[in-house]
Symmetry: C2
Subunit: 357 residues, 2 copies
Amino acid sequence: MSKQILVLPGDGIGPEIIKEAVAVLVAVNKKHNLGLELVDGLIGGAAIDQHGVPYPDETHAKAMNADAVLLGAVGGPKWDALDTAIRPEKGLLAIRSKLKLFGNLRPAILYPQLASASSLKADIVSGLDLLIVRELTGGIYFGEPRGIRTLENGEREGYNTYKYSESEIRRIAVVAFEAAMKRNKKLCSVDKANVLEATVLWREIVEEVAKDYPEVELSHMYVDNAAMQLVRAPKQFDVMVTGNMFGDILSDCAAMLTGSIGMLPSASLDQNGKGMYEPIHGSAPDIMNQNKANPLATILSVSMMLRYSFGFAEVADEIELAVSKVLDKNIRTLDIQSEGCTIVGTKEMGAAVLAEL
Amino acid sequence: MSKQILVLPGDGIGPEIIKEAVAVLVAVNKKHNLGLELVDGLIGGAAIDQHGVPYPDETHAKAMNADAVLLGAVGGPKWDALDTAIRPEKGLLAIRSKLKLFGNLRPAILYPQLASASSLKADIVSGLDLLIVRELTGGIYFGEPRGIRTLENGEREGYNTYKYSESEIRRIAVVAFEAAMKRNKKLCSVDKANVLEATVLWREIVEEVAKDYPEVELSHMYVDNAAMQLVRAPKQFDVMVTGNMFGDILSDCAAMLTGSIGMLPSASLDQNGKGMYEPIHGSAPDIMNQNKANPLATILSVSMMLRYSFGFAEVADEIELAVSKVLDKNIRTLDIQSEGCTIVGTKEMGAAVLAEL
Ligand SMILES: CC(C)[C@H](C(=O)O)[C@@H](O)C(=O)O
Ligand SMILES: CC(C)[C@H](C(=O)O)[C@@H](O)C(=O)O
């Protein structure tokens, strides 16, 4: 029985990095006879250009049919002037929401070969390996009512609604505890329970779910302190779980601790393990079509897909090992360059990984 | 004409650090005949213990009468079990709101003497001097409706409202542009305009205010990117302006870049320059009553008060110079210790500053 993967290159450097990742996917598919089948689709600015909307029905139909989705990146200055309702980012939010991909896994791993790329001191970050579990289909990103309205006194007001229900909190807490069980059994839940009622409930439900995971050491931290602690001593964390907005901020902060966001993949999973996989970096329009982008985060997204959605852990290991070997050879794209390395382009980096497979 | 300062020691290490700061205030008051008069009051847990509420009417009356407020810190495990409505933090939120202290200035400065305390590499942070301007009386901290309700399906939902009106945005933008004019004329406004309507209006109004400050170079950044950029290259920023929630997170992140949050003061100002001054660190109940807390952030808060609320810039300079001289002598509290330094307690640190005055 074949498994379908929807490939959504998106905008900016998206198509370039996706091309290299797809080459890796095709190679392991053939080598191990994985039965994977690829389908192409449009999202973001690319979809706006062809269909006028960032997440066309056609793409949605393909996504529903697929067993997993591989995404490049969306957005760029070309579409910045558009009304927010039809901006490329809305395509990303739409696919997350419509596929119910509530469980966003964002690892922040420092590759030993790239330790010097971090802006932090070596002893603070060496060996860093933390996982941020971010709720992805709720919270203030999707809360209604929202908009800009005119007040009685004639001035306008912009407003959004931050909300989480018990079941939304419970299911993401379960994802986080399960992840912690597979790792070092330490979970830190991040909220702002001293100010926001929505996160008072968050804390209560996380405590409740904790009863089913007595082996996991649970702690709670306010979001401002979490931002501080990530900078001060990130290795104190194993798994962190938080809502959509805080997760957006903290996962980017954590990723940047490694100094090499061009290396970090992510997974967004639904209740059944169906997932969308994408690099955590953006569409970097400033370097598009220049063969400069680092395809490794997207290649590692393929590896995450094989591991989480298809259970091909050994093939995933193989890809990760290939990436590691390429780094060992001091082959680097511009974003992760260091003294004495060989700087290569997007295509050459992709080819180097393929050569190791 | 005498000027009144309301002193609110608060909880945890609050009373200890306030004592040293007050000693400094009393000393410069006498030396320069500043005409300052001190009044004491209760806030936070200390107020709950005596009056059952974290911001008693009596304290509010004193605060309204005063020309400035000096605050220690609030909160501690003793009051953690209380209903959020009467927790110590609510006292802080109440005084900010009732005194209309919407303009929160949070400098993140790396003292050259403490450069090694940072978890970041020296070249990334040396010379760091950025100012975060945080909106303090609006946004999701105060937005209504808020609470925990039961949905039709029987489960509970926690909800908060994030909102900003044009006038709220305009007045904090003015504070930020004015601050930028006195510094390096670079302002970065932080929002999440690609997702949140409330911040779409934020961006629009900041652009509008910018027209009155043609000399200031204005940029906009999404909050997730801002968290990244603070870690990657914090010296790219001069002044940043943002809402209450984002400001809470980013200012703590920025403060921690210096590695010495025990050194950082803050000011919260109303429309007329009346202000509350407090260290950015918390009440640190774990070290209370042990003569371990660093009083310098509170002493520097006194200096900020003299500068911003009373216009005594030279006296403020004098206090800052005294602090710098103490650091030059390698006198340190535990939190900022380094090799070869003399470790002293709260009282001794206060005395050392006094001796330099
Ligand atoms: C592009 C944007 C809407 C998105 C988000 O905020 O979720 C991005 O920052 C991310 O983290 O994936
Ligand atoms: C104690 C808390 C309510 C407060 C806040 O979130 O504003 C604190 O973190 C701060 O930044 O001053």
